[in-house]
Amino acid sequence: LRPEPIFILKINAPDPKAGGRIIRSNFVSENELEWLHKAQKGDVEAFTHLLDTYEKPVFNLCYRMLGDGYEAEDAAQETFLRAYNGLNRYDTQRPFSSWLLSIAAHYCIDQIRRRRISTVSYDEIPYLDPPDRTLGPEASFVREEDQQHVQKLLANLGTQDRAAVIMRYWYDMSYEEIGETLSLTVSAVKSRLHRAKKELAQLQLQYGYQSASLERTHHESPAF
């Protein structure tokens, strides 16, 4: 009997059309299931394979939540430690990615509440992604500026709203999945997302930021 297909994040196959983001697949590879079973028996090497697979989505969530590379590294490491120590509590019928992101999100929310990280100056945040060599210096600069602006906008949202937006935009999660990950009802997720979007739009108006790349697309002559 084949196990029921479950949703899982596959970072090994980034979709170039989605800006290098992860795409979703409804099948878990046999390797991952094997690693999970071995890791549940205490095999660190098997867990390291899982870590290699999920380090990017977990780190990205932490970075988008906390807005600081060092804090994100610490939070991602802690997430994997907690996951490793709590693997016996993990239900293999549930998507591993959701479980992992849930740990990361809750940890980041706690950290923000505890350390009040939202006061960090976002002008000093380094952009951690390796520079895209296909982009020219001007495009790289514009991209980095856009990223700082995105982080600045996210930093103004409440922690739960921020997590919901990140999960919706970077992980293409459904309302149900976001609700399950953040322990919220579907209606609460919808309401939070709506409120967050409105807040982001108002902040955009307030900052008066206009992305150079967006501006360019507005002023480009139409293709005939």
């Binding site: 390291t48 780190f59 390796p130």
Partner: protein
């Protein structure tokens, strides 16, 4: 001016019915607030869509393993400390009990001394009584049992002793211990 339900429609992810779409379009023609909000949201949406996944610095797994090892060491150290503290606590408790007992003994040393003398005297009396019984019964018993029976009994006892020694030696041999 009331901007509902237009604001809700602006941020809706589901496609609007044709009628709502037309109403929204007409509202946007005359409402600067909603038009600005729509334009701002388009900008944010595009920035969010374009934002890539951020990756950690290479060697994340190695750093995690190092951290896991540190955590394990810290846990072992904590467990050792807890064990040591527990042992120290038990030892302290025993010491306290010993001190209390010693104090009690010192306060009633006379009673304890008499108690021990009484026990020694009783034991001595019991041994004397046993000696008397043995000296009166054993000679009669020896005379009653014939000589061949004594030989048989002594032979059996000797054989059992040899067997016991052999079994004892066998049990203490290295091969047996390893098994």
């Amino acid at each position: 001016m009331n901007h509902q339900p237009f604001e809700t429609w602006l941020f809706s992810e589901e496609p609007l019915p044709l009628e709502h779409n037309r109403t929204l379009y007409e509202h946007l023609q005359e409402c600067d607030h909603c038009r600005q909000l729509q334009s701002a949201w388009r900008g944010v949406n595009q920035s969010l869509q374009a934002a890539p996944m951020v990756a950690p610095v290479s060697g994340f797994a190695t750093r995690w393993q190092a951290r896991l090892n540190e955590q394990k060491k810290a846990r072992q150290k904590k467990q050792s400390l807890i064990l040591l503290a527990s042992m120290f606590g038990i030892a302290s408790l025993l010491l306290i009990m010993l001190v209390l007992l010693a104090t009690q003994m010192l306060s009633s040393s006379q009673e304890i001394l008499f108690g021990w003398i009484y026990r020694l005297v009783t034991a001595y009396a019991f041994l004397e009584a046993a000696k008397i019984v043995a000296t009166s019964i054993v000679p009669t018993f020896i005379r009653f049992v014939p000589l061949p029976v004594w030989v048989l009994i002594l032979g059996a006892l000797s054989m059992f002793s040899v067997l016991w020694l052999a079994a004892y030696k066998q049990l203490l041999s290295p091969r047996r211990v390893i098994l």
